[in-house]
């Protein structure tokens, strides 16, 4: 992005701000896992009580869902006017 855009665009979307947002997000992510060191998480079934279980589980299941949607998309996605064109 050019110098010009950087100055005139909304402060929230400037690359410098976005870099900071990522850093803050990273720290917050770390804190939520670190909090488990001080708070006893029992878990109902064993594995769900491990340190960072929810972090890993949340991340991995979401990645899996996005990938599954991607694969399913190849099968079921059709151009926008699919139904309208069929009616002609």
């Amino acid at each position: 992005m050019s110098q010009h855009d950087d100055k005139h665009d909304h402060w929230l979307v400037r690359p410098s701000t976005v870099r900071w947002l990522w850093r803050i997000f990273g720290v917050v992510l770390g804190l939520t896992v670190a909090a488990q060191l001080f708070i006893d998480v029992h878990g109902h079934f064993g594995a769900d009580g491990w340190l960072g279980f929810n972090a890993a589980y949340g991340f991995l299941t979401c990645v899996a869902m996005v990938l599954f949607a991607k694969v399913l998309g190849w099968l079921v996605k059709r151009p926008e006017h699919y139904y309208r064109d069929l009616e002609k």
Partner: protein, 564 residues
């Protein structure tokens, strides 16, 4: 002591009628006052059967009170108020009246004391809701409305046949827990599930709702599926099949929302996902789980309406409804952005929002019953909710790229409705006892434990990380996603065309053969009897005389032989 109970559904219905016939100046006053008067009437209904009437020779129970019934009716009336506030200056008078009639159907089902009354209000909902779909006013909404009403009338017929079966075989139409052990109860079960957007007919919801007007979809998001949840709670609590149906709905909603480009269609798939959680809860069927289903329905109606309001505001202001055309609207629509984000956080069940205190009841119920798989799947789905609705919706509409659009926030009444519902979403999250006090069973559940807050925040934030890491995989495409509705929108039409072609072929084949036969027959006829035919030829009189003489001669000769 005898107390007069006013059926709350009738209050709403009369209001809808008055809105339809009143002068334009008076209309907003009636439309806004009606849900409030209805709310008052709802809270006048004590527990137990309150009002009976005679219908077709049957003693029917028009109004029966109860905690779950009151909770659902309350949220329907409040939704009516919020929806009217959002819509009254923009929507056509007939959309407003139809939406209120629709709400009255939902409230009527909530208080229905028996299956007959339930069915009548059920159909009322179908009829009024299709008018709301049609108020979209486009060619697409007309077609979608027709598909929608066919689906609901079919579901209604299945339900009606089931109810009649129960009436004949047991002699009672009481609303009570039914077992899935005969044909009649199965039909009732299926009829209700059609309205809950359960598989295999889930597609009707995402087909019809996004075709309505920006104001209409706010009403549509609330009533039909949630009355189905209440009906399941009253008729089939603890039916294990519901757990699997619900889980299917949960993941179906997430995956299809991830594929979608239309902002209201994303939210529609998300309704199916959320109703899935409620259906699972009804399937688990413990007191904690049923509380969870009711609480989630209550919280869901507010945040989902709020999300549809923010989407409606964007569509109303820009005329655009695709993720690929929107983006960067936070610059000029700050209030809509904030309210839409609050709705998104609430649906994701972030701490301090209504979703946090309602969804956790259901998830805890699964843990309490040691349903390991159900629990793990629901937790994954909770992360998935943040993924498909919690981030995807606000990200693509208000942030992502700059679309160059600079619309203002919507008119004041739309803003007021969004602020009101945002306050409710956060208010319920901060003061859970407000909702817990209304639940059908006593609540001994504390949502705000350090453990719960930490695990939930961890889950959601890392789901958020997954969203941004996977963004390249979620590039918006100008596509629709095929669903099982392909079979009745295209498949059976093709089947019919093929049958038609076969029949045409047969007709032509048989016709050609018969025609050939006829042609040969007539040719033969012509050969013998035609103008030149041997039997039609003109014979000279002389030859006739010759033949007559010949015959006479033969006759005479034969006459001389004895015995002839």
């Amino acid at each position: 002591m005898f107390e007069l109970v006013i059926p709350p559904a009738f209050v709403m219905l009369i209001g809808a009628f008055l809105v339809a016939v009143s002068r334009p100046g008076l209309r907003p006053v009636i439309a806004l006052a009606t849900p409030l008067v209805t709310l008052w009437a709802i809270w006048q209904v004590p527990d137990g059967v309150q009002l009976t009437a005679t219908f077709l020779g049957y003693e029917v129970q028009v109004v029966e009170g109860g905690a779950a019934r009151r909770l659902f009716a309350t949220v329907f009336a409040m939704m009516g108020f919020g929806g009217v506030l959002f819509a009254f200056r923009q929507a056509k008078w007939y959309e407003l009246a139809a939406a209120m009639g629709y709400a009255s159907g939902a409230i009527g089902v909530s208080f229905a004391g028996d299956l007959i009354v339930m069915f009548l209000f059920w159909e009322l909902m179908a009829l009024f809701s299709v008018v709301v779909v049609w108020c979209g006013g486009t060619f697409g909404s007309k077609r979608a409305g027709i598909r929608y009403i066919i689906m609901h009338l079919l579901g209604g017929i299945i339900l009606k046949v089931g109810i009649e079966g129960i009436m004949i075989h047991t002699g009672s139409v009481e609303i009570r827990a039914l077992a899935l052990d005969n044909f009649d109860t199965w039909l009732v079960f299926i009829g209700i599930l059609v309205n809950a957007a359960a598989p295999p007919v889930s597609a009707w919801l995402a087909d019809a709702y996004p075709e309505s007007s920006p104001t209409g979809s706010v009403f549509l998001s609330a009533f039909t599926t949630k009355t189905a949840v209440l009906a399941l709670m009253l008729l089939f609590p603890g039916q294990p099949l519901l757990i699997w149906i619900g889980l299917w709905m949960i993941f179906y909603g997430i995956i299809y929302a991830l594929l979608e480009n239309d902002i209201r269609r994303i939210l529609s798939y998300s309704i199916i996902n959320q109703v899935g959680f409620m259906v699972v809860a009804v399937g688990i069927g413990t007191e904690l789980a049923l509380n969870g289903a009711a609480a989630h329905a209550f919280a869901h109606i507010f945040y989902k309406a709020l999300l549809f309001m923010s989407a409606g505001a964007v569509i109303y202001q820009t005329g655009k409804h695709k993720c690929s055309e929107l983006g960067g609207l936070f610059r000029t629509m700050p209030l809509t952005t904030v309210c839409g984000t609050i709705g998104a956080l609430a649906i994701s069940a972030f701490p301090l929002t209504s979703g946090f205190i309602s969804k956790s009841l259901t998830v805890s119920a699964a843990a309490e019953m040691h349903m390991t798989w159900v629990w793990y799947l629901m937790v994954a789905a909770s992360a998935g909710v943040f993924l498909h609705a919690g981030i995807k919706f606000p990200w693509y509409v208000f942030f992502q790229k700059d679309s160059g659009l600079r619309p203002k926030d919507p008119p004041w009444n739309m803003q007021a409705a969004m602020v009101l519902f945002s306050v409710v979403c956060i208010g319920l999250g901060v003061f859970p006892e407000l909702l817990y006090g209304l639940l059908p069973y006593p609540v001994a559940y504390e949502p705000y434990t350090a453990e719960h807050v930490v695990t939930q925040t961890q889950l959601l934030l890392f789901a958020g990380l997954a969203f941004f890491v996977m963004l390249p995989f979620m590039k918006r495409t100008l596509t629709v996603s095929l669903d099982l509705d392909w079979f009745w929108r295209v498949g059976w039409v093709r089947l019919f065309r093929a049958f038609e072609a076969l029949m045409n072929g047969l007709r032509e084949g048989v016709g050609g053969f018969v025609q050939g036969l006829l042609r040969r027959f007539s040719a033969e006829l012509m050969r013998h009897h035609g103008a030149q035919g041997v039997l039609a030829r003109a014979w000279p009189v002389g030859s006739m005389l010759l033949w007559v003489a010949l015959l006479l001669a033969v006759f005479m000769i034969l006459r001389y032989f004895p015995g002839v």
